[in-house]
Symmetry: C2
Subunit: 150 residues, 2 copies
Amino acid sequence: MEDILREIGMIARALDSISNIEFKEYDLTKGQYLYLVRIYENPGIIQEKLAGMIKVDRTTAARAIKNLEMNGFIKKKEDQHNKKIKKLFPTEKGENVYPFIKRENEYSNTVALQRFSEKEVETISNLLQRARKNIEKDWEFVKKGNKRNY
Amino acid sequence: MEDILREIGMIARALDSISNIEFKEYDLTKGQYLYLVRIYENPGIIQEKLAGMIKVDRTTAARAIKNLEMNGFIKKKEDQHNKKIKKLFPTEKGENVYPFIKRENEYSNTVALQRFSEKEVETISNLLQRARKNIEKDWEFVKKGNKRNY
DNA sequence: GGATTTTTGTTGCGTTTGCAACAAAAATCC
DNA sequence: GGATTTTTGTTGCAAACGCAACAAAAATCC
């Protein structure tokens, strides 16, 4: 069977690398853009869900979020009914940076999809969503400490 | 336009996370499996090319390779005609681990492609290769210190 | 063939990453 | 309603990551 893992890995590392270099300009350190865009688009999300959304370790997310807060891009808010959780919101500073991140991501996306027909864009998008849903089950399983059998 | 960046990022992080957990059993630390499989499949490759193949910073590759060597998975060999380069080869220990890495990667690949028809596998594989070729040009450009215009 | 540029490799340093281990609140069980 | 399990968040530590800066060999230029 064709190997898609390596292609996906190469594309992901290349894109992430480009973004990290380009976002230094906005004082975002490595990986922070991932969290900021999602907090902006899902205001009130909690850290645990965010980690699951990004597919990153809980503790990594915790520290990335702490840094974003310390640098004034987001703020944490206590919940009225649940003392355990902390809801995440962008600050004005975070809101102001969002359009630049969004624009960069859209540009990289169009670069990746150069010379793709509309149909092909639709196709790859759908196939990737299916692959992601397939693999995220295993990720959650393994992350919980379970062992895959193969 | 549909956003494929996020799906690719999610899949890549999930797969990498799973692999890193599963390869601890063979005393491979984070990311090392990426280098080892490629050295095995491309014996004599030099570190600079390997970094480009994986899409990772030159210095990150340098240290990952140094660790692989120190842990006895690979060895470096001087070139007869070129004093600058060091060719990389798996050791017997590295060769012995390779099948386990290969098997794990193949399993993850089939999980990601669950419920894909043969045709769909072929399609996503081809589209991803095209996307990778599109984006690697920008990666090289930005890595060299150039600025993208958008 | 000598000067200049590119390629390849290394080290210092600050930062992120993620596993273990812990804590406390919430949800579930009976 | 009390015990147990799950969810959510944090910190210690060791390791990887990547930029900057350097060095030396090789390739290119004229």
